[in-house]
């Protein structure tokens, strides 16, 4: 017998062709929207980074975009923090989407404290995702949040008005939501990949 060669080393060295294409690596943080996962370079939300979601108005489907991820995280026993939501989260509605509300902490904060509270939650490392609705957030604030998300290995979601789109942002991912004439989401910036030219349709037939 010659030297025993471990199969895995051969495969890792890619010297052996296995006759079928390797499946695309699944993202660490899938969004739960297959069409969106396909166009995002990380195969989902950029892990440990800030994602900015720009809205024309409240209530256009911004929560449905993130609720599958929140459901996955809370069911896995991880904590999700919501900072200064514009309305009250409806427990029954969130539970219908599969979110375990025992893992959701809601933080009431004034306009000046939203960014601070979000940064604390991100930096703590004990939150899987932090959602916030900052009204006063400049480039420097967002950069701090991006660093905090990286430090605490958490998903950060900042929901902001669409009017901030022309300004540059340090967020790893920027999505713009459109409700009319039909619900779709534009990827405006994604770190580590090219920006897709077409919007991703967002099915809304599920209530």
């Amino acid at each position: 017998m010659g030297a025993v060669v471990a199969l895995s080393t051969l495969l890792d060295a890619q010297q052996v062709w296995r006759g079928r294409a390797a499946p695309l690596p699944a993202g660490e943080q899938p969004t739960g929207w297959a069409a969106l996962d396909d166009v995002l370079p990380a195969g989902g939300w950029p892990p440990a980074a800030l994602s900015e979601i720009l809205l024309p108005a409240d209530g256009v489907g911004e929560l449905r975009l993130v609720l599958p991820s929140l459901a996955r995280l809370t069911q896995g026993g991880r904590t999700v923090v919501i900072v200064a939501p514009p309305y009250l989260p409806c427990v029954a509605g969130w539970q219908q989407q599969g979110v375990d509300m025992r893992r959701v902490d809601i933080v009431a904060a004034g306009d000046n404290d939203v960014a601070w509270a979000m940064e604390q939650c991100l930096r703590s490392g004990s939150c899987a995702a932090v959602l916030a609705w900052p009204r006063q957030a400049d480039d420097r604030t967002l950069r701090r949040l991006q660093v905090a998300a990286d430090h605490g290995q958490a998903l950060a979601f900042a929901f902001r008005d669409r009017k901030h789109l022309p300004h540059a942002s340090p967020a790893a991912l920027r999505l713009e939501l459109e409700a009319a004439p039909r619900a779709q989401v534009w990827v405006r910036k994604c770190r580590g990949g090219s920006v897709p030219a077409q919007p991703v349709p967002l099915g809304r037939a599920l209530h």
Binding site: P89, I106, A108, A179
Partner: protein
Amino acid sequence: MLWACIVLPHLALDGVLRRNPQSGPLVLVDGPVNARRIVSANREAREAGLHVGQRLSAAQALLTRFDAVPYDRAAVDRWHRFLAAVAYRYSSEVSLLPHAIVLEVSRSMSLFGPWPRLEAMLRADLAALGFRHRITAAPTPHAAHVLAGVSDGQAVLTPDAMRQALQRVPIGKSRLPAMATETLPGMGIRTLGQLLALPRDGLRRRFGAGLLEMLDRLTGDLPAGLDSYRPPDVFDLRIELMHEVENIASLVFPLRRMTGDLAAYLAGRDGGVQRFTLRLEHRDGRVTEVPVGLLTPEREPGMLFELARGRLDQVQLPEPVLAMRLVARELPPFVPAGRDLFDERPTHALPLDQLRERLRARLGDRAVHQLDSTTDPRPERAQAVAGNPCRSGFSREAFGPGFGIRDSGFAKAKASRLKPLLQGIGPRPTWLLDRPIPLRGAAPRILAGPERLETGWWDGGEVCRDYYVVETSLGQHAWAFCAPGEQDGWMLQGWFA
């Protein structure tokens, strides 16, 4: 039996210095007003030529600028008892001796390790608190006390070694009554060893039974006869500031000391603190109270300091502060938080409870909460602030009645019992408005409905509504209702965001 003795030679001065960060000549003075004498001096003062016993007027002639603080017997006594409370962490048998604390450590060593390690822990605790000290160990408390007067760090662990060590102690340092220590050298008795060798009958005739009793206590032939110290059930610490303080930032240093002392005291009691009050004292007895409440009992000094500071930062001082006092009345048992061995969070992660405390310290007691559903079908009452997000009830009603939700028990509506309920109901939005508002704009397009809710006749909050899922002209999906049978006068209840 093994007794450790901690001698605190500069108790009064250390007590003053630890609230006074700046260095400079400082002396403690005592005596009648017209004949004040220095009773203690710090290093800078001694280098400048001041010494203990000097008259204050003589010192002022030597040095123009130095701080003279009156010697405060009550404060010294307070520090003495406080350090006994700290030592209580290491032994259940702690007693007070003049300028010293003795504690029985033979049983403690099985928990804390052999004597050198225990000694190192004691020294580290005292150094962190800012008290100079000498530590010795001996089989009897009085012997340990005598040896501590001779040298620092001496440990005699067996009775024989103790007898040998006592042999060499000069009579002047034997802590015997003054009558004996003054007379004995004149009789040629200069060490304890010589004294112990004298015939007992003669000693009794010359000095009475008291001296023999003391010698027997020293060698362990009689029980030590000390009263055990019991730590108080209330922590009350007051620091008088050297100057009138007008801004909060100057209170940070004393605050750090106070929370550190509180933590040391709690460690001694093996307890935690859940609520304490900072009292900022102004002129004429006026007081600003700053309550600090925590979700769970804590005793980590850094955390106590950070939380207290967070509360203090929000205080507007109405007038200068003369003294600060920390009072903790409720001292519940401390249960360390458990952590999962296979925790997948980063190693530097701040535990969730501490994060909540930090948020509450800045944003208010009711800022952090969770929501849970109730069994009531009316949207305004279908959910409530969960009573117990983190093992205590401070966050109840965090949003208050302004959000139109009623606080109801968490236990009534456990998630498992809700599952069948959820399946029976129609679609629910993800955002809920705190109260319904009229839906403005063009007539919405109906997507689903109606779902009739007719309930509440028993408590006066009767509702009878038809709920629809509608789409507005902006493309938002809304949860709106109108009167039964009509499709007009839409009231917006929530958004399908």
